[in-house]
Amino acid sequence: MRWAVFGLFLAVAPTTASAYTAYVTNERDNTVSVVDLDQMKTVKTVQVGQRPRGITMTKDGSQILVCASDDDTIQIIDAATLRIIGDLPSGPDPETFALHVSGNPLYVSNEDDNMITVIDVPARKVLAQIPTGVEPEGMAVSPDGQTIVNTSETTNMAHFLDYQTRKLAAAVLVDARPRVAMFKHDGSEVWISSELGGTVSVIDPVKHVVTHKIAFEVQGLRAETIQPVGIRFSGDDSTAFVALGPANRVAVIDTKTYKVKKLLLVGQRVWQMAFTPDQKYLLTTNGLSNDISVIDVGDLSVVKSIQVGRLPWGVVVSPK
């Protein structure tokens, strides 16, 4: 059966030149769903380690990296064969990570350990461990590669680290339970989502101060159900997308005015997001409805829901 499905996947892929493939971690199923974005359906499910959450791909798109949190490791999956070909010494309970813009190293947040582990990916070696706040979560690397940002969920800060020295340059207090850090492509701002604070803090990465705070309102919903998590910027930085968790909406924000211009209804407990490389689609993982929503970025509408495994958490789209 596995081979039959795999064969189908191979047969389909070459016929559609524009087809992208998305990979979704299913936290509850210990699997990664492989989604063909041409067919708009799940074409294969890969068994991985326990409690898979953070997911990314190497710069060349040849390998998929998955945080298997409860196995205290990061698994390396060969994107061509979908076989697990090795693992990285992530330190305990890896939740999320970010690759340096140059493609190496990898910065991992160790949620149980108040540490960031820096890993040389090709060598599969730990380069350093850096102490940070309580329950480190979001990781981001600035577009110029000089600044690493980490959020800590119980300390409620965004920690700014210098790439060269691996030392703390600043810690900026934000609202409760900061989850995701995301730089604009031009590097001028870093946005931090606070899940329980219900806000997004906009931080000047040079002055290390919060310059704007974005709040959300959804008619008919209580403030406490609005819990911002995933953040993504359009290629030209003009628009930001923020996943609002149990509010089941993605907020579309004008980055000049910091105003929410539209709310898109997606699946339940929307968590992380990823663009297709052509920026045509934005994918969202919906933890409680076990699917991903496909947002058409051009006309800001939800065009499709694709079923994946249980409790989908993270998503990455192959650059190929």
Binding site: D93, E111, D112, N114, I130, P131, G133, V134, E135, S152, E153, T154, T155, N156, M157, H159, K167, L168, A169, A170, A171, L173, A176, R177, L196, G197, R222, E224
Partner: protein
């Protein structure tokens, strides 16, 4: 339990860390951290009264509560490294023969003005009244008495522990959602059981359940765990629950652990047991994994070498409230910290899926209540469908319009 001779002080972090690479990396990067850290002092008045339990598993560990406080102070101290703040916990054991007022005064003399207490309601109230002139603030992490939130409320007492009414309401909502609305209420003969059964009667009325009959179980004394007691219990409990009108669920009010744990599987009719045994409402459960709870459970087990109890969680939450306010205000001044904790925008994250905040009419912490069978979390109240104009959390316990509290 052996009683420590005097107040012991746990110093978290600063001095020990300063020499390590961790401290150097952070201290070197942050200019402010080069100065001596500002110390935020928190006390813990720890009640040393032992009690019997039916199950060996329920025996309170010697560091029950204080282990949660220690973990929170550790967490605060990690954050404090970035704020140039250090957190110091003074653990002050209180024997039933001791004068808690004198111990509180000695804490105050050392500059500790924010004090957690797990003392019973009567002692807490006396302390609160004695403490007022000195601007001491007490964090009630154990006493569930509704009177402390109602007619006996005090402006210098923050209630982190849920009240009996909150616990009863949380269970009642679930039972009504389950359509188990015909209850038999069995209560013990201790004063706390009288108060708890009153909370269940109120909850039944509020949420549309019916108490079809009540029975009292008298505490006749004697040991609870005896190696041949099982035979008697097996005969006693079916007879005790014989001849009841048709009902859905047996609700037990037994705060002293006298009889409730003997009821599951031994009732005359095959009915579930809830309340003080079976499905129980609590602020925390050692198995709660939702909303990042796994991280807290892992951290706790690593430092305490045991599972985290509701009292540990209540102590953790109280210390985190103080830590959160200390970093928001960048201050160790107890007046500033309390002003922030009591302000409208204050909230603390405690692995319950939403921020917890204080009710400004009685200083009770709003919180979801877990319902656990001792193995897993069965449900979490408030239940869907129980609506409220401000926050669904205020469907648990005494709401603003019902309050008899006059804060001064």
């Amino acid at each position: 339990m052996k009683r420590p001779a005097s107040v012991s002080r746990d110093r978290f972090g600063r001095r020990a860390l300063a020499a390590t690479a961790i401290g150097a990396a952070i201290g070197g990067a942050l200019r402010r951290a080069q100065a001596d850290p500002v110390v935020v002092r928190v006390g813990y008045l720890r009640w040393l009264d032992s009690r019997q339990t039916i199950s060996l598993l329920d025996k309170p560990p010697p560091d029950n509560g204080v282990a949660g406080a220690r973990l929170a102070m550790n967490d605060n101290d990690t954050t404090g490294r970035f704020m140039n703040q250090a957190f110091e916990l003074s653990d002050a054991p209180v024997h039933p023969d001791d004068d808690p007022g004198a111990i509180l005064n000695s804490l105050a003399g050392q500059g500790t003005k924010l004090v957690l207490t797990d003392l019973p309601a009567d002692r807490l109230l006396k302390l609160a009244d004695a403490a007022q002139p000195d601007q001491l603030v007490l964090f009630n992490i154990a006493a569930p008495d509704d009177a402390l939130r109602q007619e006996d409320c005090r402006n210098n007492v923050i209630h982190v522990a849920p009240s009996r009414a909150m616990l009863a309401d949380a269970l009642a909502q679930y039972l009504v959602w389950k359509k188990w609305s015909r209850w038999v209420l069995v209560y013990g003969s201790h004063p706390q059981d009288t108060l708890l059964s009153a909370a269940y009667r109120r909850a039944a009325k509020r949420f549309g359940a019916r108490i079809v009959q009540e029975r009292e179980f008298k505490d006749t004394g004697g040991a609870r765990q005896t190696d041949s007691g099982v035979v008697q219990t097996q005969q006693q409990m079916p007879v005790f629950t014989q001849g009841l009108p048709d009902y859905d669920v047996l609700v037990t009010a037994d705060e002293n652990g006298v009889f409730a744990d003997y009821l599951p599987y031994r009732t005359w009719d095959a009915r579930p047991v809830v309340g003080s045994a079976g499905l129980r409402p609590a602020s925390w459960d050692p198995t709660s994994e939702s909303w990042g709870g796994t991280q807290l459970q892992d951290r706790f087990v690593r430092v305490a070498h045991r599972r985290m109890t509701p009292l540990d969680m209540q102590a953790w939450t109280a210390c985190r409230m103080i830590g959160e306010a200390a970093s928001r205000t960048a201050s160790s001044d107890s007046a500033k910290i309390m002003q922030d904790i009591k302000s409208a925008g204050f909230g603390v994250a405690a692995y319950k899926g939403q921020k917890l905040s204080l009710r400004n009419w009685d200083w009770q912490l709003r919180q979801p209540i877990l319902l656990s069978d001792g193995r897993t979390v069965v449900s979490i109240s408030p239940q869907p469908g129980f609506l409220h104009q401000v926050t669904e959390l205020d469907t648990l316990g005494f709401d603003r319009p019902e309050t008899k509290c006059k804060l001064q």
